[in-house]
Each structure stands twice: as structure tokens, then as C-alpha cells.
Amino acid sequence: MIVRVALVGNPNVGKSVIFNNLTGAHQYVGNWPGVTVEKKEGKCNFDDVEIHITDLPGIYSLTANSIDELIARNFIIEEKPDVVIDIVDGSNIERNLYLTLQLIELGANVVVALNMMDLAKEKSYEIDIKRLEELLGVPIVPTVAPKKEGMTELCEKVATVAKRKVSATKIRYNSKLEDAISKVASILSSYPTLQKYNMRWLAIKILEDDGEVIRYVKEISENDPVVWDKIEDIKAELNKEFGDVIVAMADERYNVISQIVSKAVKRITAEEEVSITDMIDEVLTHKYLGIPIFLAIMWTVFQFTFTVAAPFSDAIDMFFAYTADLARSYLQPEWFASLIADGIISGLGFVLIFVPNIFMMFLALSILEDSGYLARVAFIMDRIMHKLGLHGRSFIPMLLGFGCNVPAIMATRTIENENDRLITILVNPLMSCSARLPVYVLFAAVFFSGIAGTVIFSMYVLGIVLAILMALLFRKTLFPGKPSPFIMEMPPYLIPTARSVLSHMWLRGSKFLKKAGTFIVGGLILIWAMSNVPYGAPVEETLIGQLGHLLAPIFAPLGWDWRIAVALFFGFIAKEIVVGSLGVLYGIENPDPTTLYGPLRAAMTPLSAYALMAFTLIYVPCIATLATIKQETGSIKWTLIALAYELILAYVVALIIISIGSLVGIV
């Protein structure tokens, strides 16, 4: 028997953790709302039942405002899963039951997973599960997802419910609302195409002015004026009676919830107790101290990233230098030895020595994320962001951009307002992703020894500042208007578990390794090949030399030679290739592959190196990011705008750095 199950629930209640527990998948989880923005599928077996599970983005209600919410709602309505597991945060039961009531209203076959029971206990909640089951009329399984508690019971309940549909308690509104719902449902029932839906639910949604539902029903009814006039009359009557039908319905639901909670949930509070979350929030979200504290914390992240990773990077460097020497000594013919030693080993080595930096950065960011601090950053940045025309919520996708711009751009699906979302997508590539880190680490080590961590940190700050400025520019020019208000639920502070932090670090870091092993190697072999055609010719006369000299005049005002131009050109495929290309290009003339320091110091000054770091930060995003921009905006126009503005901005910023530096006498 196959059972199709949907996992739904409010954001950040542990849906993805339960999904991973049940299916054995390694889907990304995080301690902030909006981690999942698309549906994910997996399966598990329980006795003779094969359970196909779909993890959906978090939703607060069945009214869809953003893309992720629409994905979740449409799945439940259109796909009609056999069982819907509604994951409820046991430590925040009142608010979570709002969605539960709506699912019951929809007629879904609901099983409630009452998750975070450990937190509920910490918050002194006593939940009478049996009583709650009676009141809601649906089965409830208490769970603690991170400890995998209650998972077997959950599967057992799903298997039972799939065979026999639950008869949930009917939610009744006051007589006037009930009367209106019946009238609208009766009008809709004359359309056979709508019979597959729950009429009562459709009627409620129409009365609640749900844009998507109204659009759909209008399409089916061919916008029949007789029908819609009748519906509008019913709505007008209700509005006259209640002021706002949406609020009236929400009030009714919360009344029901309040009655249920008063019967099934008790809270024993000790007034003198101080919550750690409140304590930390008082300071970390402070009006004036919040941002300086954020900057100090981010500085420690990059200090840690650079310095602690250094011995590991040096060890990898030594290994590759030794291997390249061996290849040069033992392989024949000469061109083949050169391909292996200078093309593949040196090139790959120059990329892989940054693996420790990338893993350390993800380790630090995972700790911040799992602790719950990331959501606070969005909150403290909202004041500034709002003044500059950007949505506070945009800051979470921007911070995710520190890892990779691709999932960060997809994370903008949680932003309800389309203009806010487009602005966030356009500025997201300015957030410095991990692929740029090798470039910073290399140049900071070569030119800024002693303050390398701070120089790297300055790149990330520059990225944030430019993103905010560009957002302001876009708001004033392309997307006039005010950003929508920012409401976000703060997750509790948690002590990150080693398992979760290491798994996050590996999930993100391994992508870099996969890239290094596949098309970065391919790209480096291509560069090596181009630098050896015709074979034996001086490198400046090879294909790569000719390409470099073609590009060099563009970068001449910035003080960069043709090799840098070539490296930046190939960095368009993926930014990791920039450093590897430099390794290959300088390695050709200087056969000591262990260090690029000497050749780079000879070719550049600290000022031009800093400008190059800034250019790498800003200029064209990689191909994967551009493809994601195209996918998420659905428009080639916005993709080209992103490409063009970043190229221009990168050049202008690099030129400003060089000019100001020269003016004040920095070389």
C-alpha cells in the first residue's frame, strides 16, 4: 500500500528535521523561519505501507501571500495527499493551531505531530494530549524531532489514518457567518468543475477575499456577473455587519483555539524566572548596540575563517607541491608532465588549499544560524533596510548569500511583495559567496599579512553596503514605492548541536569540493591547454596570451596585467577558477608551484590587489547564479540588468579604490 503524505506546519517548527528523520534524507534545516522554499520528496516504509512524503514550505495559514506559501497550499489542495501531517510547535501551540483548524476546515486527513515537546516542557507547558485529541478530533503524536522521539509512533498513526479517514471536529462560526458561507457554497455548487474541491472551504476563502481562489473560481464561472453580483452582495452585507470579514473570521478561529487551549493546556509560571532568549535579545537586538555587536561577531567569524584554517591550508599546499614535483620528475613526455603538474595538480591545489577556509566559515556561520542569531540580524537590520527602501526580511537571503547566491536567491520566495523580492534578487549577488573567499584569502595573505582577517571582513562589509545602496537606487528608479511591513517570528536561542553544525558545514562545503572535482578541473585543463597552444611558444604568444592581451587594455587603468584579465574572464564560469587560473598562469613562467606570493607581489601593489578583491566581489555572478536569477524572475531582462549593473559597478568601485588610494598616497 502506498500512502502519500504532506508535511505542513508553521515556519521553523521542525518540518525538515522530521522529513529527514523519516526519509533518511539530508535536507537542509536551520533555526530560522523560511529555510524550505520548495517542496522536497522522500519515502519510508512502515510495516506493509510505503509512505511517500512531501516536505512543504512553512505556512501560517491557508491564505497564500508569497510564492513558498502558494507552493504549500496548492499541493494540499490540488494533489490531495492521503494524509497531512501538521507539525505543531508544542511550545507555541495557540498560534500553530490556527493552521490546524484551517486544515480541518479544508477536510484534509490530518495527523498532528506535536513537536518541540522538550521546549514546551522548558516553558512550563503541560499539554493533555488525550483531551487535545478529543477537542480537535484528530490524532496527535508528541515528538521531539532533533532527538528522533515519536517518529515510529508518527508512522504508525499515518498508516492507521490512511486506512480510515479521521472525523475531525467541525469548526462552527457565528450564525451570520455560517449563513453567508452556506449561501456562497450553494452558488458555487452549481459548477461541476468545482465539485472536486471542498465547497465550504472555497466559500470561506472567497469571503476572506483570497485573490488566488477568487481568480480561479472566476475563471471557472467565466466571470458570470449574476453569480459575482450575488457573492459581492453577501460580502457587502458581512462587511457592514463585522467591519472586516477577514478579521471577523480570524477572531472566530482564535476564539475556538482559545477554548481548546484553555481545556487542554496549562502553564505553570514562576515569575522570578528569566528566559535566556529574552536576556540575550534585550542586548543583541538593542536599538544602538545591535549592529555594532553584529559587526563584532562577523569580524570574529572571518578572523576565525582566515587564521585557524591557515595551518590546514599550508599542509594541503605542501602536499600538492610535493605531488607536483613528483609528477614533474617521473612523468614523460614533457608536455604530459606539464599538463599533470602545472595544469591539474597545481591548478587544483590552488583551489583546494582554500577548502579549510570555506569549511571554517561554514562552521562558524552554521553555529550562528543554529543558535537563532541569524533571525535577529534580520530584525536589527530592518530599521536601516527600511529607511533605504529594502525589506527587513531581505536580509536573511542576503546573509545566506555568504554561503552561495543560488539558494539565497531562491530564499527570496518568502518575500510577499514582488517588488521587494525583485530588488532582493538583483542585489543578492553582491553578497560575497564562498567561491570568492579563495581570492580574498590569497590576496589578503600576500598583501595584508597581519590584518588579513580584517581585510577579508572589509570585503563582506563592502558587499553589504553596496547591496543596500543598490537596493536604494533600484527602489528610487525601477521599483518606486514603499517596502511592505516586516513581521517575523523570532526563533528561540538554542545551543547548536555538534551533529547539526557539522552536517550543515559538510552539506555546504561539499558543494565546493564537488565543483572543484568537476568543472573547476575542467576549466583549469582548458586554461592550461590554451596556454600551451602552440606548444613550446612563449606563453604571451599562446591562445591564452592572445586572449589576455585582448582584455588587458580594459583593466590597464586598474593596474592589472593580462593574466589577471584572463583569470577574471574565466571566473565568470565560477569564481573559484580565478585563483586556480592564476596558479596555472603564473606557474607557467615560474615553475615553483608552492607559492604565488612572489609573482603576485611583483605584478601588483597592495592597493591594486585590494581593488581586485573588490572587483571579484562585485563583478558578474557565476553562470549558476545567473540561471537562478532567470528562473526566479522569469525574465531575461532582469538577468541582463543584474549582469550589466554588476560589471559596471565592479569597474567603477575598483577605479574609485585605485584613485582615492593614489590620491592619499597609498600604493
Binding site: S91, L119, E122, K123, S124, A270, E272, E273, V274, S275, I276, T277, D278, M279, I280, E282, V283, L284, H286, L289, P292, I293, L295, A296, I297, W299, T300, Q303, F304, T307, V308, A309, A310, P311, D314, A315, M318, G450, I451, G453, T454, F457, P492, Y493
Partner: protein, 145 residues
């Protein structure tokens, strides 16, 4: 204000002043003497490290301010101040260990003259100064969430 709170206020202020002085000192040192190649202190000063010390000082000053009126709020600042101070100290200790590995395990020539003293950033001894403030925090009844 009782004697205990007076002592706490004075001590938090002293910790705040110490962080402030070293923070300003490190910024000044990094942008003036260090950049001229003059090294008075063994460590390489960093302006953002100095800024971070000043942030910690501000947290302790705010704690001292609240101690006279709302001691619960003051404890919140002391708690986070100690956490941030610990984070900064831990970062510099990590730097020390990493540099020790470069010098003693990898025998990196760039670190040939490295000693433990080379990385003794003020954030490390200053953190020790905050430790007595843990004692009053232990008297609060905590809820974990």
C-alpha cells in the same frame, strides 16, 4: 542602591573602561604606529579588533547604567557582555593555536620567530577581568528558553 549593586556597578564600569581604553589603544596603534612599521606591543594591532573591544565596553557601561534602576536588565547586559568577551578571547586563543601549529608542526619559515607572547592580544587578559561578574549571574533563576 544596596552595597552589592554598588560594587557591581563600580566593577562593571571598571571592566567597561578597561575594554574602552584597550579598544581605542588598539585602533590608534593599528592606524598610526603599526602602519609606520613601529611595533611597541608584540601583537599586530587590528582596527576592527579594537572596535570589537569598544563594543564590549559599551555593553558593560549599559549594564552599569541599569544596575542603579533595573538590576534584571543589567544582568542581561552583563551576561551578553561576558559572552562577547569570551568569543573575542576564544578567537585570539584560536589564532595562537593556529600560529603555534604553523611554527612547531609545519615548521613554516614565516613563523620561525613566533612565541606565545606574539599573539597575546588584550582581548585574552581582558576576558579574565570579566570572570568575577559570573558570580552574581548564578543567583538568577534561569529558564532555558
Amino acid at each position: 542602591m544596596n552595597t552589592r549593586n554598588t560594587i557591581l556597578t563600580v566593577y562593571s564600569t571598571i571592566v567597561g573602561i578597561a575594554y574602552l581604553v584597550y579598544g581605542i589603544g588598539e585602533i590608534f596603534y593599528s592606524i598610526s604606529l603599526n602602519s609606520l612599521g613601529i611595533f611597541i606591543f608584540p601583537f599586530w594591532a587590528d582596527p576592527i579588533a579594537g572596535f570589537s573591544l569598544i563594543v564590549v565596553s559599551m555593553i558593560f557601561f549599559t549594564a552599569a547604567k541599569h544596575l542603579s534602576s533595573d538590576h534584571k536588565k543589567a544582568y542581561m547586559y552583563i551576561f551578553v557582555g561576558i559572552l562577547l568577551a569570551a568569543l573575542l578571547a576564544l578567537t585570539h586563543v584560536s589564532v595562537m593555536i593556529a600560529n603555534w601549529a604553523e611554527c612547531c608542526l609545519l615548521l613554516n619559515e614565516d613563523y620561525a620567530e613566533w612565541t606565545w607572547f606574539s599573539d597575546l592580544n588584550p582581548a585574552i587578559p581582558l576576558f579574565a577581568l570579566t570572570l568575577p561578574l559570573i558570580q552574581p549571574l548564578r543567583k538568577i533563576k534561569w529558564k532555558k528558553v
